[in-house]
Symmetry: none
C-alpha cells in the first residue's frame, strides 16, 4: 500500500458508489430499492448503512463527485482564453469525456436533478445550471459577436440545442461500443459547428 494508494475504506466506498450509480441510472433513483443496490454489491441492505448514512447520501455523493470533476474540466477550458469555436469544441469534447467516465452519474443528473433540486438536501444542484448556462451562452455570444456563429438564431435556443444534444448522449452511450467517446464527440461537433457557423 503505497502513499499514492487511497485507503481501503475510500476504495470500497467508491466501488459501492459505482454500483449504486449504475443501478440508479438503469432503474431511476426512486424505483431503485436499497436492497437492489445491496444485491448488486453482494451484501445485505442493512450493510450499506455501515458505509453511507442513507440512500440520499449515496445519490448526493455520486452527483457531487461528478459535478466537481466536471467543473474542474470546464473551468480549465474557460480559463484557457481560446476563441469561441475552439472553446465550444473543447467544451463538447470534455463533456463527452465526462460521459465516458461518469456515464451513470451524468444520466442520473439529467433525469433527476430538476425535481431533486426542489428538496433542501439537493438544493446545491440548482447552482450548476446557471453556471452552465453562463459558460455556454458566453461562448456562443462571443462567437456571434466575432461573426463566427450565425446571428439569425436565438442564442438561448442554440444553447439548449447544443446542451441537450451533448448530454442526452449519456442515456445511450456505453463505453466499449462501436464508437469511442472521442469519435462521437468529433462527429457531434462537426454537425453542431456546421449547424451554427456562418456560411462564407
Amino acid at each position: 500500500m503505497s502513499a499514492i494508494a487511497p485507503n481501503p475504506n475510500a476504495e470500497r466506498r467508491a466501488e459501492l458508489l459505482a454500483t449504486a450509480a449504475r443501478v440508479f441510472a438503469e432503474q431511476g433513483y426512486n424505483a431503485t430499492t436499497v436492497r437492489r443496490i445491496a444485491d448488486a454489491a453482494g451484501m445485505l441492505a442493512g450493510s450499506l448503512y455501515y458505509h453511507f448514512d442513507s440512500k440520499e447520501a449515496m445519490l448526493d455523493e455520486i452527483l457531487t463527485a461528478f459535478l466537481d470533476e466536471l467543473w474542474a474540466c470546464y473551468d480549465t477550458v474557460l480559463a484557457a482564453g481560446l476563441g469561441p469555436r475552439d472553446t465550444l469544441g473543447a467544451l463538447v469534447t470534455q463533456s463527452f469525456r465526462q460521459i465516458d467516465r461518469h456515464g451513470p452519474a451524468v444520466a442520473i443528473y439529467q433525469k433527476e436533478s430538476k425535481h431533486l433540486s426542489a428538496q433542501p438536501r439537493f438544493a446545491h444542484l440548482a447552482g450548476s445550471q446557471p453556471k452552465f448556462e453562463h459558460a455556454w451562452l458566453r461562448t456562443l455570444e462571443r462567437g456571434v459577436a466575432e461573426r463566427d456563429f450565425r446571428a439569425d438564431l436565438d442564442v438561448r435556443l442554440v444553447y439548449r440545442f447544443v446542451r441537450d444534444t451533448v448530454w442526452v448522449a449519456a442515456s445511450w452511450y456505453r463505453p466499449g461500443g462501436v464508437h469511442s467517446a472521442q469519435e462521437i464527440a468529433r462527429q457531434y461537433l462537426s454537425m453542431v459547428l456546421a449547424g451554427i457557423t456562418t456560411r462564407g
Copy 2:
C-alpha cells in the same frame, strides 16, 4: 353520447389525466404519490379510484394517448411521399406540435419509457422505439443516397443527434413562452439541416 356532446365522465377523466400528467412530469412517476395527484385535482386519494383502476393505468392512458396521436401524425407524413429534406422537416415540425399539445406526456415518455418497458404492463412502449428509429433512419439514408445529406457521418449517430435534440425540448418547453413551438421547430430545423446537409 353523441359526437357533439362527449359524456361528462370522459371530460372529467381527461381533466384528471392532464393533472396527473403534469405532476408525473414535474416530480417523476415513481416519486409522485397518488395523494399528490388527488391534491392537485382537489379530491382525496381514494376518490381517484372511482375514475381509474390504478396509478399505472393513469400512466398507461397518458402515454398511449400521446403515442397514438404521434403515430397518426408520423404515418401521415411518411405516407405523403415527400423527399428526404421535406420529410425530415415535417417530422421535426410534427414532433414539436406534439410537444406543444402533450408536453407532460412527452416528458414522461422521455424519462420513464426505458425502464418502464421492462415491465410486462408497459412492454408495448418498447414497440415505438424501432418504429421510430426506422422512420428517421430511412429518411436520413434516403437523404444520403440522394446526396442531400452528408455521407461522412455515421447515420445512426445523426439519428440519435436529431432525435434527442428534438424530444428533449419537452423537458423545458412551456406553451406561452417567448417562442411558439412552430418558431422553435423552424430554428431547430434550420440548425439541423445546416448541420447535416452537404455543402454545395
Copy 3:
C-alpha cells in the same frame, strides 16, 4: 351529533392517543413499538399513520395536552391569592387530580422528559421545569417568610421533596384503587404539612 360533540375525527384521535399513552407508560416510550400500539388499538401499524405523522408526534401530543391542562390548573391556583399553606394544599390537590385524569401522560413525562428535552423536537418540554420550580419555590419561600414553614431546611431540597413525592405517585396510582386521588392527596398533604410546618 350536537354542537357540543367533538367531531368524530377528534374523538378517534383522542381514543388512539389514550391507548398509546397507556402503552408508553407501561413499557417505556422507546421500548414501545408502533405495532404494539396498533395491536392495542385493534388496527395495523401502518394505519396509525393515517391519524398521526409519527410515533414522536403521538408522544408530543400526549405530553402537550397534559402540560397545557396542568398549567391551566396551576395558573388558576396561583392567581387566586391564597396564603402559602392553602396554595401548597391547592397545588398538591390539583396535581393529584391531574394524575387521576392523565395518569399515563404524567408517568411518561416523569420518566422521559429529561432526556427528551435534549432533542429539538421536544425542546419545549424544558420550559415547564423552571416555571414549575418557580411556582412551588415562591410558595415555599412565602411560607417561610410568614413563619408558616420551617426555616431550618434548604428550601430547594424541600421543593424537590414535595415535587417528587407528589408526581412519582403517577407511577403506581391506578384509578379505581383502594383510595381515591382526593384521599391520597389528603393524606400526602397531611404528611407534607406536618413535615415542613413550624411547631408551636
Copy 4:
C-alpha cells in the same frame, strides 16, 4: 490475582460498566445504543463484546451489583435490632449512601425495573420489591404499634411516600453538589419524621 491487586481485566470491566451506567441513566436503556457506550469508552461498538456478552448483560451486571450492595446494607440495618425511628433513620441514611455510590444504577433501576422485570432475563429484579416493601412496612408498622408513628395514615401510603421521596432523589443528585448525600439524608429524614411522628 491477590486481594491487593485485582486483575486488570476486572478493573477495565468496572470502568466500562461505570461508563455504560452513566449513559444508560442519561439516555434511558432502550434509547442507548451500544455504539454510544463504545464512543463514551473510546472504542468501537464491536470491541465491547470482548468484555461483555451483550448489552443486556451489562445492564444486568450494573443492576445486580447495586442491589447486592444495597441488600447487604439493609440486612445489616434490619439485623441490628434498633427501634422503629432509628431503623427508619438508618434505612434512609443508607439509601442516600447508595445513591451517592451507585447514582446511575439507582436511576436506571427506578426508571426501568418495572418493565424490565417482565422479561425472564430480569425476572430476578422483581424479587427486590416485596423484600423492600416488607422491610419498610414492618418498620412503619412497628412504629405505629409503639405509638411513635401516626396511626391516622394508611401505612401503605406512608411506605410509598417515604420510598419515593428517598429514591427519586437519584434522578437529580450529583456527587459534589451543594449538599453532601449525608446532609440531604439528614434534612429529608427531618421532614419525614416530622411528617409521620405522633405529636406529643
